[in-house]
């Protein structure tokens, strides 16, 4: 039996944890949805032996004192070492990637640079981020179920050299610029808009006077499609 800590607060992460809480090979010794609650438990030092601390969609950087104390694993929604860093979903969708992988990695000093334990296919299709989160949630359940079933046999692999790193996107990056309007085809505009639907800062066009038109929901029909339904 493996003693596991769950740390996640986003809806899709909570959905993943809730579905795995009764996995026969794990014993959930703590379940934290805020950084404060997690740090408080660590500070009190009253946790039982922890084999793995799992972080999904966790926004806070883990201190070395924590990553040295526990085996901390996280799911990163890219085929590492590609798209390390911030906003991996957005950066992949904007670059036209429709199918990628989620990577279960050791959380280490180098951001998204730890050893890889497992990967799982995931689709980045969907008109909204909510739909992409559903895909992530499904893939994460598949991956973690496999991980818990075979934990003792898995040998984590060092990430290869290369790959790519992207900084976290800022709200102003959601602007569709005049240049983008001129240069991007409508499929690329669709990708930029759909990956910036709620809860992210929506894509927008800004007028000369500073007024903004925000795109909240879109749909794309390719020109070779027979149906617009």
């Amino acid at each position: 039996m493996m003693n596991v800590l769950f740390c996640g607060y986003r809806e899709w992460a909570v959905d993943v944890f809730d579905s795995l809480i009764n996995h026969p090979k794990i014993n959930v010794v703590g379940y934290y949805k805020t950084n404060e609650a997690f740090l408080e438990a660590i500070a009190k030092n009253n946790l039982p032996k922890v084999d793995v601390a799992l972080f999904i969609g966790w926004s806070w950087i883990l201190d070395a004192s924590i990553t040295n104390k526990f085996l901390c694993l996280g799911i990163h929604p890219s085929d590492l070492p590609d798209y390390r860093g911030g906003s991996p979903i957005q950066n992949q969708v904007i670059n036209g990637i429709e199918n990628t992988k989620i990577s279960l990695m050791t959380l280490a000093e180098k951001l998204d640079g730890g050893q890889i334990w497992m990967k799982e296919d995931v689709s980045l299709e969907g008109d909204t981020v909510a739909e992409i989160f559903e895909n992530l949630s499904f893939a994460s359940k598949q991956l973690l179920t496999r991980f818990f079933n075979h934990f003792d046999k898995i040998v984590p692999q060092k990430q290869g050299d290369g790959g790519s790193y992207y900084p976290r996107r800022k709200p102003q990056d959601s602007q569709i610029t005049v240049q983008e309007l001129e240069e991007l085809d409508v499929k690329s505009l669709y990708n930029k808009i759909r990956c910036l639907t709620d809860p992210y800062p929506n894509a927008y066009i800004e007028g000369d006077n500073g007024d903004r038109l925000y795109f909240e929901k879109v749909r794309f029909v390719p020109s070779n499609s027979n149906s617009e339904d």
Partner: protein, 223 residues
Amino acid sequence: MKVIFLAYREWAQKVYPTIANHPRVSEVAYCTESSQLEQLNVEDYDLLISVGWSDELGKELTEKIECIGVHCAELDRYSYGSPLQLQIIDGIRFSKHRVFSFTWDEESPRAHTHNRLYSHEVDLDLTGGMEEVLEQMTATSKVLFNMYLYDYPNITWKEWPEEELVRPKRNPEDSRLSKQDVQSMTTKELYDFFRCLEAPYPNGYIEDEHGKLFIRKVDFKSK
């Protein structure tokens, strides 16, 4: 009063309880499609109320029973179809919602409002997304029919002034914008264009050789 109530659109069907529960109404025949109307002996009824009904009622029916509807415009130019969309695209934020006399005129190019007669009117707010606009349509329709039914049969009809300017009914291809159109329009114009084509209407879209980008929901923030 015995009333026939015609409505198939969601916003229009929400008006039904107001009619059914009105103290002056004793019986309501609720029709959501023309075939139901055809089965009624309309001469057994006092009034036909249509809400958001697209079809013309025709000569035979309008001669047998008094028919009324609601029209969501103040200016005559919006009497030819798609009044909500055309007013919003034209930048109109506040309009009127009126009870009109639903008649038939073979020669008239207007949609339903052939004799330009109205009895009651209230202000209509056209701001916000289409969901909000249609909520306004429901709320103001309830007010208008309540007013009409309380006044019935002492209804005073007024005529709205005729205009030479005509805004013709929109066609499906009018929902298309090219990327060049998008670049030439202001953010406010784009907002109005897309918001008036939100569900339940066919969405506005931007098209190029790769496909169509349908804009389902937009928001606007002034600086």
